[in-house]
Amino acid sequence: MGLLKDGIESIKNRNGALHVMILPAVILLILFNYIPLFGLVIAFQKYNVFRGVTGSDWIGLDNFRFILAFPDIYQVMWNTFYIAMMKIVAGLIVPIVFALLLNEVRNALFKRSIQTIVYFPHFLSWVLLGGILIDILSPSSGLVNQFLAIFGIGPVFFLGDDTVFPYVLVATDTWKDFGFGTIIYLAALTNIDQTQYEAALIDGAGRWKQTLYVTLPGMMPVIILMMTLSLGNVLNAGFDQIFNLYSPIVYKTGDIIDTLVYRTGLIDRQYGPAAAIGFFKSVLSFALIVASYKLADKYANYRIF
């Protein structure tokens, strides 16, 4: 008993080192993550760059009223939601289907190679991909339109036609990132107990029925997990991508909350209103992320720590 107490005492004294170890990271987080949180008050101020946060006047909800009077604010919010939802749905279906198809292949080398190749676009920045896509999707000289011309389909202004633009965003984003999901779903697939397949086979199930009744249910936990984790992302329709692909002609269907914040805040320097939009988005995102983590915990037993 005395030994135990001695042991505990000595452990207590060791822990000073732990606080020292984590101090630099804590300082940086306070500086660049927690202090900006106070900056959210800018949303309620008539922010003056020279007077700073402490010197600027308080104007209550005026910034929010100003934003809500923007001619396109509701269109922007709808665009954000619509594009994000499509990306989430596509981002769920395509990798799952691809993983299922890839799973049917016996050759391990082929499987590995395909996975490696389809994962690659994920590592390119949207600046590079934007440059490539602007070239490939060009109505006059792009590869895609040349290909479509073979079938007699007229040149499509992928990046200049606002009826097509949102779908181009979703398609290219899915193309870039489906490799990521494929790896995760494939890993989940290989974790499914093989004896279940044999049991199904004995019961007379063909491959398709096996997929329906063994594979998909076996993947459900991971699918639900990915679904709920992406819930927190509903308002992030992809600033990186859209910024590099959009232009004023497609603002109507392509402008999202983040691009509006960027233009209002950093280009027009209307810091107050931009902070207000950002504040609104942060609060909503926070609620969604907390909800999704609670859901993930409840239905898929998943906690990050």
Binding site: N15, A17, M21, A25, G131, A274
Partner: protein
């Protein structure tokens, strides 16, 4: 186990392989196209005659780019930011993950610290407040503005923390018995063991820094200070006028805006292409580790 395959099954398998190969091909097709255009001469490029293979093979687009001081300078800045940034990320992540991986019984502050870190993933001030903070700290126009705000990668810290927590408890007991303090424990025992997880984190950091174009654009006012992707953002997404000002007529006959852009894009992709095969092994393992339990 030999299984009898019906002809419909065989047909499906063959179609499947063709489809999967096609899908993979579509994933690298754009890169191949860019590579081909970059090595083609301008007449063929503007005539849209280039798809997968260069026509009128010429190095001149690359010669032109190699003589562009802005490209070279931004490339070197990107290398500098990537190396220093990744180093800082690792130096911060390793001790932090070690601290966060301690058990609550022995270290009661652990829960507080974990929440402190995780909260930053859930809620942040947004673009404007962060920008203004960087401004107030005086980091505008300094290359550290590209590194310090994101220096603590919480996702990586948590990945590493989970890795540490999955190690056997006997390790801690053994080092306690040997009289090792936390620093020794971290540096001598945990750090070497963490190699797979560290490889994943390193790759994430390298790719993140290399691809980061937005920080350069908002925090740096002189385009001469831009790292590669920020410079490319201003050049590729908008028309590049520097070609017109070139004095070399011979160069102009084989290079045009399209081939020079293609060369620049390919050169920017090259480091990732080189690093990817080595790290993707660890990366895929790390991804699986973090997502599927058990």
């Amino acid at each position: 186990m030999l299984e009898y395959k019906s002809w419909s099954r065989k047909l499906f398998l063959w179609c499947n392989v063709i489809f999967l190969t096609g899908a993979a091909f579509i994933c690298i097709l754009p890169i191949i196209n860019v590579l081909a255009v970059s090595f083609s001469s301008s007449q063929y490029a503007s005539a849209n005659a280039v798809s997968l293979w260069p026509k009128g093979f010429t190095w001149s687009a690359y010669e032109f780019v190699a003589n562009k001081p802005e490209f070279i300078r931004s490339f070197l800045i990107a290398v500098k930011v990537t190396v220093i940034g990744t180093l800082i990320n690792l130096l911060l992540a390793l001790p932090s993950a070690y601290v966060l991986s301690r058990s609550e019984q022995k270290f009661r502050w652990r829960t507080v610290y974990v929440w402190f870190f995780v909260f930053t993933m859930l809620f942040n001030g947004g673009l404007i407040p962060t920008y203004l903070t960087v401004k107030e700290v005086g980091l505008l126009n300094h290359f550290l503005a590209l590194i310090l705000p994101g220096a603590v990668q919480v996702f990586s810290v948590i990945l590493l923390m989970n890795f540490f927590r999955n190690l056997p408890k006997e390790i801690d007991e053994a080092s306690l018995v040997d009289g090792a303090g936390h620093w020794t424990n971290l540096l001598v025992i945990y750090a070497p063991l963490a190699k797979p997880a560290l490889a994943t984190i390193t790759l994430l950091a390298i790719v993140g820094h290399w691809n980061n174009w937005f920080s350069g654009i908002i925090y740096l006012n002189h385009p001469g200070d831009y790292p590669l992707q920020s410079y490319l953002q201003t050049v590729i997404i908008k028309p590049d006028l520097s070609l017109i000002s070139s004095n070399d007529i011979g160069l102009l006959s084989t290079v045009n805006e399209r081939t020079s852009k293609a060369a620049q894009i390919f050169l920017a992709t090259l480091p990732i292409l080189l690093v990817y095969p080595f790290f993707q092994n660890y990366f895929m393992k790390g991804l699986v580790m973090g997502s599927v339990k058990g």
